[in-house]
């Protein structure tokens, strides 16, 4: 039985739909990310699961039980907020004890459970501090300890790491993942950061405009994007426009506006001349070497070069079209100068083609 099921969950406001027929089935102990840009409905979905927002229609089932009508305080969920939302007038110990006290846990039992929760986030020594005496990272750990202490059936995270600085964020990602493995709580994690979603999750649910775009493993989301939106949102994409070109004998291709022609397996089955949106990821553009057949490459020149640490980014010009490509800093293509001629190749299956969103067909 799935630990959490969302069944055609909808939230409509006058004039806009925040979540449209969202259906998900989450296995026990799974770590699921809801990923999407701001305003995509991910937080709305999370808050409906928490019972803080009432769905317009649809059902929420926890362990097969319909909780849609249950108030938040009877759902047995843990929720970690972006703002941490600690109780500022209580010590760290009392913050963590709050949920346990509501379950009637008392005395030694209470102390043991609080200590255990604090130990699991490595804050054992700080029980008597007040929240404002802690750093942002420590406050976030307290918030996590507070939400797992009552042993909820579902743990919800609402962009919990976005207020932390970059190095701390990486550290917390690993720690949260490790903790979630240890306690084995089914987890729903809302984020707009694809790296965060990919690295932490068993499966990722990509949302846009309140609609589920794809719900699959991080590898599948990355390698086989189901919609144009997913292709253009995941990875480091070049977003381009073009038209489908079909020759009687050859494979389908797209002619980029003012630019070169790219063979694209995704364009098969599309009509000649159809306007399309094209996504080519920076990391999918390969620099050609002597062994690459000439016919399969595009000739252009380096318009700009930027060094970004482990990688070198190039802005490449192909006629009127510009593409960003990257090379490893310690690889053979790291030292290209501006204006140097280059030849690159893109595998046909890495050219993601979708019918143009806002343009009429020719």
């Amino acid at each position: 039985m799935p630990a959490l099921t969302l069944d055609r969950l909808e939230k409509r406001y006058p004039g806009h739909t925040a979540a449209s027929s969202v259906s998900l089935s989450v296995r026990d102990g799974e770590f699921i990310s809801l990923l999407g840009p701001s305003g995509c409905g991910k937080t709305t979905v999370l808050r409906m699961v928490a019972g803080l927002i009432e769905p317009t229609s649809g059902r929420i089932l926890v362990d097969g039980r319909d909780v849609t009508a249950l108030p938040t305080n009877r759902r047995n969920i843990g929720l970690v907020f972006q703002s941490y939302a600690l109780f500022p007038h209580m010590t760290v110990f009392e913050n963590v004890a709050f949920g346990l006290r509501r379950q009637g846990v008392q005395g030694n039992d209470l102390k043991q459970r609080v200590d255990q929760a604090l130990a699991s986030v490595r804050l054992s020594a700080l029980g008597e501090r007040m929240p404002r005496q802690l750093s942002g990272g420590q406050q976030q750990r307290v918030a996590v300890a507070r939400s797992i202490a009552p042993r909820p059936s579902i743990l919800l995270f609402d962009e919990p790491l976005s207020n932390l600085d970059a190095s701390l964020r990486d550290e917390m990602q690993i720690e949260l993942k490790r903790l979630q493995r240890e306690v084995g709580i089914t987890t729903l994690f809302v984020t707009h950061d694809q790296g965060e979603a990919m690295s932490m999750s068993d499966r990722v649910c990509v949302l846009a405009h309140g609609v589920v775009q794809q719900f699959d493993t991080p590898e599948a989301i990355y390698h086989r994007p189901a919609t144009g939106f997913v292709a253009s949102f995941i990875g480091r994409p070049n977003r381009l426009a073009g038209r489908v070109v079909r020759s009687p004998e050859g494979a389908a291709a797209v002619h980029l506006d003012n630019g070169p022609v790219l063979t694209a397996s995704g364009a098969e089955g599309m009509a000649h001349g159809a306007a399309v949106d094209v996504v080519v990821r920076q990391e999918d553009i390969r620099f050609a070497d002597a062994s690459t057949p000439h016919a399969a490459t595009l000739a252009g020149r380096v318009a700009m070069r930027s060094f970004v640490g482990s990688r070198v980014q190039y802005l490449l010009a192909f006629g009127g079209t510009e593409l960003i490509a990257e090379a490893l800093t310690n690889g053979p293509h790291a030292g290209l100068e501006v204006d140097a001629p280059v030849r690159v190749a893109v595998e046909p299956q890495h050219v993601y083609v979708t019918p143009a969103a806002h343009r009429a067909a020719a």
């Binding site: 938040t72 929720l79 907020f81 939302a85 007038h89 709050f98 949920g99 509501r102 507070r146």
Partner: protein, 283 residues
């Protein structure tokens, strides 16, 4: 002095000068005044005495007035808090339009002159006032109940007059409490009542503190309403000071009583801030 601080001092100096001349100097002049004996019939004499201060504690009449003032101060503050908090809670959680409309309604009575509002209560509470007439007409009572010139009348009238101040201090304090923090308590299996008692109420301590101090200070220093609803005989410290200065011309006693009132105010403010800060975790 750095140029920056010099500029600051210069900018503040006109107001500072005015305050020194018109406020601090008269107060300082009152210190020696309060230490002179007053002889009825002859006036203020040249000798020195502490009697004006000691009599506040020893004289039974003075003691009664001080205690009455304190009871009134705490009573009005408590009533305003109990009646104002639910209203403020509702306003703070209402939509923007409703909040504006309700805030206007709260402010509206303050647009009426204080004397007029106090007189309104006389019309209601007097022996031949609206309330007594109504109760007698209905037959619930045979003789009028005394509702003026006593603690009841002052409590009713002053609670009404100072309630808006309490509400206006409480609303922003309650609004400032993060919705996430309340939601967090709710997800931790707390009932709505528990969220209110354990989270919302303690977190609104700064508003409760500032509202209570404001109402308390306004109440124990109020003159017009106690004079109108208490009459010439049922006195509080403020009316007593007024009469000392302007009726009996016993300036030394009035000055001493003024300092006692100030000291009392500072003491209550100091103590209550400490208690409430600890409770609200802001210490």
């Amino acid at each position: 002095m750095t140029p920056r601080r010099m500029t600051g001092a210069l900018l503040a100096s006109p107001l500072l000068l005015l305050l020194l001349l018109a406020f601090v100097a008269p107060v300082l002049l009152m210190v020696p005044l309060s230490l002179h004996p007053y002889e009825p019939g002859t006036g203020i004499s040249a000798g020195w005495t502490l009697a004006n201060y000691t009599s506040i504690f020893t004289d039974e009449y003075y003691r009664e007035v001080v205690v009455r003032t304190l009871v009134l101060g705490f009573g009005v503050t408590a009533i305003c808090l109990l009646m104002g908090y639910p209203l403020a809670y509702y306003i703070a959680n209402a939509g923007p339009k409703m909040r504006l409309a309700l805030t206007m309604l709260v402010i509206f009575p303050m647009l009426l002159n204080l004397v007029v509002r106090s007189f309104g209560w006389i019309a209601l509470l007097a022996n031949r006032g609206l309330v007594n007439n109504l109760l007698m007409d209905v037959g619930l009572i045979e003789r009028p109940i005394k509702m003026m010139f006593n603690l009841f009348g002052l409590l009713v009238g002053m609670s009404h007059i100072f309630l808006p101040f309490m509400v206006l201090m409480l609303v922003p304090a309650i609004q400032a409490i993060s919705k996430d923090v309340q939601a967090a308590a709710y997800t931790l299996a707390a009932s709505r009542l528990r969220v209110f008692w354990s989270i919302t109420l303690p977190m609104s301590a700064p508003g409760i503190l500032s509202g209570s101090i404001l109402v308390f200070v306004l109440t124990i220093s109020a003159l017009v309403t106690p004079r109108m609803l208490g009459g010439p005989t049922y006195k509080v410290m403020a009316t007593l000071i007024y009469d000392d200065f302007l009726q009996t011309l016993d300036w030394p006693a009035g000055a001493a009583m003024s300092f006692a009132l100030t000291a009392l105010t500072l003491l209550v403010i100091g103590l209550s801030s400490r208690v409430l800060k600890r409770w609200g975790g802001h210490a």
